[in-house]
């Protein structure tokens, strides 16, 4: 349920983005929060939820999962006792990477300065699109702060599967602590905003004393994730090509071109063989399709014999 809320919210947000900017390339967006504030806020809520941050619904699921993993350590058999807590570590890594990914998406698309003409002239999407996102965004926040009403029926479902199950206290304690911490964070943020209502002045950003800081100098989506890609280079294996012209003067190039193609190594080593195998098998199977009706009758007869044999052997 949580997942449904924030995922559809994000998809709607992405749709609104492409509608407003006519591009799906993050590096051509930027500064959109000022131009389409409602979409931006809804998208931010979606990002925070999927990142599993507290006060939003993604965190509720994450918290329950962690509780499960830790509770797994109390089991009698040793394998799950060992594996389950370690799964928590993997979940944490995934959570961290998801948060890093979505902070990137949001920041590059909505913050900073517009990186292209389309982004600069983008307008807010029409009302119904905002409405759809708003409903989901409210659901995300509501489920995040007060998950109790949803958890209770879920628990009844669990009870119907495992008769006699008792609600673990961890699950029951979740709504309470979330509501309290939500209240605390909100109160503190409000206090900080009220207490720190100081003068504000709009000035240009510091550009090392040089004029002309252009939007293209901002970090792009690709450069943002560069460090993480470098860490996981074994997984990604990008094909990089750096061409410097003229070739004989590497330090005074007339033109430099750099291309980097990122097909993940999963795609190469995992998906490709699988698709190849399926396609190959299909080609082999095509030989069976002779188009001759007698052959087909033979197939049916053979299948029948095989089936009867199997049934007969099982008796």
């Amino acid at each position: 349920l949580n997942h449904a809320c924030f995922k559809s919210l994000l998809f709607l947000g992405a749709g609104a983005l492409s509608d407003a900017t006519h591009t799906l390339n993050l590096d051509e967006m930027g500064g959109l929060l000022k131009r389409m504030p409602s979409t931006g806020i809804a998208f931010l809520i979606g990002c925070v939820s999927i990142g599993g941050l507290p006060l939003f619904n993604g965190f509720v699921g994450e918290l329950l999962l962690f509780q499960d993993f830790i509770a797994g350590s109390l089991l009698a058999t040793s394998y799950p006792r060992l594996i389950l807590p370690l799964m928590a570590g993997i979940l944490a890594l995934i959570g961290g990477l998801a948060a890093a990914c979505f902070v990137k998406v949001f920041s590059v698309a909505f913050l900073g300065r517009p990186r292209s003409v389309q982004a600069e002239s983008a307008h807010e999407v029409p009302g119904p699109m905002i409405g759809g996102m708003a409903v989901l965004a409210v659901a995300c926040v509501g489920l995040g702060v007060l998950p109790g009403p949803v958890l209770a029926p879920l628990f009844q479902v669990a009870q119907s599967f495992i008769p006699g199950a008792v609600a673990p206290e961890q699950v029951l304690a979740v709504p309470g602590i979330l509501a309290w911490s939500a209240l605390t964070v909100l109160a503190l943020a409000a206090a900080a905003i009220i207490a720190a209502r100081f003068r504000r002045r709009t000035t240009a950003i510091w550009a090392c004393g040089l004029p002309g800081l252009t939007p293209s100098m901002q970090y792009t989506a690709t450069s943002f994730s560069k460090p993480l890609r470098a860490v996981f280079i074994a997984v990604y294996r990008p094909d990089r090509k750096l061409e410097t012209l003229p070739v004989d003067q590497p330090y005074f190039p007339a033109s430099i071109s750099y291309t980097s193609v990122r097909t993940t190594s999963f795609e190469k080593s995992l998906y490709r063989p699988m698709t190849d195998a399926v396609v190959g098998a299909a080609n082999q199977l095509r030989r069976l399709q002779t188009g001759n009706i007698q052959t087909y009758l033979l197939y049916i007869f053979l299948t029948l014999v095989v089936l009867l044999t199997v049934v007969g052997l099982q008796r």
Binding site: G31, E62, L63, L111, S181, T184, R200, T202
Partner: protein
């Protein structure tokens, strides 16, 4: 009595955090044979910044201005979860170890958002590096906490501390040693101290945290700096509370509390000096060596979790 003490320890942590940063700075200066600024300097600096005005870039959205407030709020809420003087906390419930990790993650999320909104190159640079470090540091952080939680059979910080408090100091297990090592490494990475990040540099090649707060000024910067020092205090308090809580008040009597305050201050001082020694003795590592550093934390925390299975007592 207990709620009062809980409030007291939360405010001790929040208001005392800049002092910790001041002590670390002073110790580092003395190690370099400098006189160094007063240990109260962070307070003066925060006060000065609060009296200044916020400078906002023309292209920035309201988030640029709002993000530091959210960062501060989330960090303070995390501080409410940490037990200092007695094994209870202001905000406490089952599963709050996860909540603590994710409140800090939330602070970081909005720190990155605020930095990216500046529209300059520095914010993005710092953000991108921070995103890498934090994405990798989150898992060992949680695993280390989980290892301790498994040993103490509770996911509530306060009861973990309570459990540890009742153990004999010399019974300390391999799980605790490994988890302590992992958590200490994560603490260094998360709070942007020397081997990972240099809090006092303004050189593009090296900075992470400083690059992110570069565009902020005035009260926003004050809140960010304060939140940063609270985070450091939270991490050190966690190290104290989870691994060496002895000396905490088990009863609410004034004498026990006074001892608890003194012992806590002493432990904090030891950790501050230790951190200063570390920062003076070690060079900042290359950015791409940070994953290796965190990899060691990963290994240590994973081993800690694995050992919980064998180290049944």
């Amino acid at each position: 009595m207990t709620p009062l003490i809980n409030t007291l320890q939360a405010f001790l942590l929040i208001l005392g955090a800049p002092l910790l940063a001041g002590i670390v700075g002073k110790t580092k200066a003395r190690l370099q044979r400098r006189q160094g600024a007063s240990i109260w300097r962070p307070y003066a600096e925060i006060g000065k910044l609060f009296r200044k005005e916020d400078l906002v870039p023309p292209s920035a959205s309201p988030l640029f201005w709002g993000a530091p407030r959210i960062v501060f709020a989330a960090t303070v809420a995390a501080a409410f979860l940490v037990p200092l003087l007695q094994p209870t906390a202001l905000l406490s419930g089952l599963g709050d170890i996860v909540l603590l990790v994710y409140l800090l993650a939330m602070a970081r999320f909005f720190l990155i958002v605020g930095a990216m909104d500046g529209g300059g190159a520095f914010g993005g640079m710092g953000s991108s590096r921070e995103a890498m470090v934090s994405a990798l540091a989150e898992a060992p952080f949680l695993l280390a906490l989980i290892a301790v939680a498994i040993v103490a059979r509770s996911t509530q910080l306060a009861s973990i501390v309570d459990w540890t408090l009742r153990q004999n100091f010399f019974d300390v297990s391999a799980v605790h040693l490994l988890a302590f090592a992992a958590l200490a490494m994560v603490a260094v990475a998360e709070t942007g101290r020397v081997p990972v990040d240099n809090p006092s540099t303004h050189l593009e090649l090296t900075m992470i945290h400083e690059a992110m707060v570069l565009e902020h000024s005035g009260p926003s910067l004050a809140l960010l700096e304060w939140a940063g020092s609270i985070k450091l205090a939270i991490m050190t308090s966690l190290l104290i509370g989870l691994f060496t809580p002895w000396g905490m008040a088990l009863s609410g009597s004034p004498a026990a509390l006074a001892i608890a305050v003194l012992v806590y201050a002493g432990k904090m001082l030891v950790l501050a000096v230790g951190l200063a020694l570390l920062e003076s003795g070690v060079a900042k590592m290359r950015m791409y060596a940070v994953p290796d550093f965190l990899g060691v934390a990963w290994a240590a925390s994973t081993l800690a979790v694995v050992f919980t299975v064998f180290g049944r007592r």
